[in-house]
Amino acid sequence: MPLPIEDLWAVSPEIWLAGLGLLLLVLDLFVPSGRKAIVGWAAAAGLTLGLVPILGLVGVTPRTVFFGTYVVDGFAIFFKIVAVASTVLVILSAMDVLRGQTQFEGEMYILLTFTALGLSLMAGSADLIMVVLSIEFVSLCSYVMAGYFKADRRGNEAGLKYFLFGAGASAVMIYGFSILYGLTGQTSLYAIASALSGAPRPAVVVALVMALAGIGFKVSMVPFHQWTPDVYEGAPTPVAAFLSVASKAAGFAVLLRLLAVAFASAPVDWITLIAGLSAVTMTVGNLLALPQRNIKRMLAYSSISHAGFLLMGVAAYAGEFAQGLLYYILAYAFTNLGAFFVAVTVGQRLGTDDIPAYAGLGERAPALAWLMALFMLSLTGIPPTAGFVGKFYIFGAAVQNGLIWLAAIGVVNSVIALYYYVGVIRAMFLMPPASAGPVGQPAALQLALGITGLGTLAAGLFPQPFVTLVSAASLLLRF
């Protein structure tokens, strides 16, 4: 059976990303050390151009390609845009950090490019083998990037811990998938969906729980979240930003596709299970974030609690309504990347990640401080920021689908979260600076900060265009 040529068009974004990665590998050979930022700019430009084939697929008829192993639909396209765009921003923020820290600067940009490829593949996988392969693709790159600064003891620990947790979680997930294969005799998610409706319940539950272990690890869902604070603190800050946004978003793409397609008619109530996990995840993340003094650890626990909010969107994904989840991911991507980029700037210039070091930032770097305040308010969910609209939509979706108790827990958690987010704002504006002098920012980082800040404001003030975009993207091919 020959491969239809249209199938190659359907994966043109992936072909572009793969080719770009290989080209950068060759380019890196010819760029002298000390000028490796060229590779970074080339990667950023190439990835930005990679948005063109992705946007070219917008409005495509949802269908499976490559003999049912891959799928193109609005849902996958949305997550590809998020993956590629956040990779570009992370590369921009990483340039200043990597310079002089490692002789393998060029390889980091190449790894990030390939990771964007892996994330795109995660968004479109329609086959158990492809799901495992693309998750491992991203994981392997992430382990390496987390342990990238080999001279830093915390970096070593981050890389090793991330690897051990990740390898264990994916082994459990693969075992769960093997049970799923045994129950259906199929590896395609769409074929599994129809075969699973008559399957015996206990085995389906075991398969689901084991599969959730692997994916829950990637999105840092409680109880698979323990690695998150250590890895975010120890990894280079841009990598932490990348893990908290791009990997997490792609993990949710896989999770939702697996549940909404393969487990659609399975004899197991996954909506209640996910709703329960959502409540636990957002509460645990929030409570552990309260006493943190390190900005990266605080953002790590806050990202766990946001995983809980996103799980609420997954649980509320009924019928044709993925908008809550998708809008939240969009808002979260802008906001959290921005917050991490401020942490990158401060960490680079002041050499510390402690929140008390942010004291007096309002005087020393007003623009930076105001941006950070904006991101903190957006993470809390206060208007007129993107986070508010995201929370509004996700709570709305939950209420609409009869999960009022979950929405109530979400509201309570948002109020608790206000405490630690406002703590940062208080340090920046109300506490006296420890030392005087302005805090400089490199151009690439300014660009990244500007884009995320603008996005956070725009998605909060003018939500309508974004809502239209998200509604167009919420189409998930089910059968």
């Binding site: 090793l160 811990k161 051990l164 294969y181």
Partner: protein
Amino acid sequence: MTLGLTHFLVLSTLLFCLGLFAMLTRRNAVAILMGVELMLNAANINLVAFNKYVAPGALNGQVFALVVITLAACEAGVGLALVMSAYRNLETVHVDEINVMKW
């Protein structure tokens, strides 16, 4: 009594649980990795056995198993590199001694 699917499932369950036990109790990062390899092998036994008894029409299970073996090799390569780089700096590979950051 003839050889059937259940025999293979029992073997794979025991192997998976032994691997998980190594993950939970071992201090040495390399030993934990060995536990992960046992778990992956257990999954592979499942996949190949189901391929024969449940879905002999296509070779998806065996293809899946081959992919898992490849991924295990990749994981071992990257993981052992991380172990080496951690050992150079921290002078230990025992995970309960590796806590520069508080849990």
